[in-house]
Point group: C2
Chain length 257, copies 2
């Protein structure tokens, strides 16, 4: 690693979001930082990648770039265009997201996807999300903790060939501490709301009335943030599920094609 | 289960793609089938969900619906709008995708995401993808096998509370058999191609020159399709990685906030 590590920063709220700027400022205390973030908000874009349309890239300032695509597009372009980063980054940090990414949120989140994309390409990565109101004070406090967590991740020993992907959530208010956690169970109010447009034609909004419920689960990220702690959850990217080999074998054994 | 099972069918190539229609026809031999698929092509949309814009829904015919959103939107709307499905589906089948979804493709695929969304909501699910040319003959052959695999999955015993998510790929040409597999290693030519538009401004295409390389891996989906077999891989949706709890604990233990 160079004397100062290089950190690639992205997010899904867009390059102008206060969370990504707070993260950039805090990381600059010990690292070289390049921001490559979506030009427009990309919440809930998950791991979408733009293979079927071209992308535009704008240089917004010193080490701040906007790409008019998804969070995954931003990380891909940063890593494979040779004029954005001075060298291969030592770490990728994504966020700080406006709103939580707890439990199964990680499947839908663009913030987590940016970190996942870098991890898939061999770069230790960490996604940050902030619960509650994103006041300047809350963001600055979270960004300082985020910077310390990034420094620790750079120092962490890791098994040969393994690339950590961490998912961090900051609680509302001042954090009481930091806890290693696992993904919790977060239940949304499901439903589709039907509305009628001014021309009398129906349209749908995804999501039911009412809020989100956390199922108590010891050691979970949901429990941690509800108790006022920062959660740090190690993720494993979707892969083969050996427990279901029996089911796959049963399904495959039906008949010869 | 009713005398005839109910199968929800979706895809990412769009409601008019030949793959989804072939799958629908084949499944009708033993099941009630409702297609809810994207109005427009949604390849590589991964698990994106439209929380920040409204959706339109068109009825295209008996039990064929188009939603102008992502594959995940389609499955969500099918499950939570009460006028699309006559009852809760017994199975969700996605595809047959135009092109493979092998190895890490599953992270980016909209076809797999539709199946994953149904699995997250408790419905056994299976994603189908076709290598090679999608001739009517190839698709009809694959759709017949797909229908048999769906029937087997409906019959499979499964551990209490566990929901199988299977990823199936059909090889080029006639299949020699069906194999239970694990995700293989698929390497793309990485890069960003820069072009200049008629106004002289640069734009980017994601993906480098040259093709895809499969790393040989015993028991993998890539090995299976390369040898002319149908692959059936059980997937585990991204979750906590207990092997990295040590790293998370090290990162969390840095300092008190």
């Amino acid at each position: 690693m160079a004397s100062r590590p290089l950190i690639l920063v992205s997010n899904d709220d867009g390059v102008h979001a206060p969370g990504v700027r707070a993260l950039q400022r805090a990381l600059r205390s010990f690292a070289d930082v390049v921001v490559v973030a979506p030009k427009y908000e990309q919440s809930a874009q998950s791991h979408a990648i733009s293979l079927h349309r071209p992308l535009r890239h704008d240089v917004l300032g010193d080490d701040v770039h906007a790409v008019d695509g998804t969070p995954v597009d931003c990380v891909y372009v940063a890593l494979y265009r040779d004029d954005l980063l001075p060298r291969r980054p030592d770490l990728c940090a994504s966020g700080i997201n406006h709103g939580p990414n707890l439990g199964s949120d990680v499947v839908y989140s663009g913030t987590v996807a940016a970190a996942r994309e870098a991890a898939l390409r061999g770069i230790p990565s960490i996604a940050f999300s902030q619960l509650g109101r994103q006041t300047t004070r809350a963001l600055e406090g979270s960004a300082e903790i985020a910077a310390r967590l990034c420094r620790r991740l750079l120092e962490a020993e890791r098994p040969e060939g393994q690339v950590p992907l961490l998912n961090v959530n900051f609680p509302e208010g001042s954090a009481k501490g930091i806890r290693p956690t696992r993904l919790g169970l977060r239940h949304y109010a499901e439903g589709v709301e039907v509305r009628s447009d001014p021309r009398g034609r129906d349209y749908y909004w995804i999501g039911g009335p009412g809020g989100v419920r956390h199922e108590p689960l010891e050691g979970s990220d949901t429990d941690a943030v509800d108790a006022g702690f920062v959660s740090v959850t190690p993720l494993r990217i979707e892969r083969t599920f050996p427990d279901h080999f029996g089911i796959a074998a049963f399904v495959a054994a039906g008949e010869d094609p």
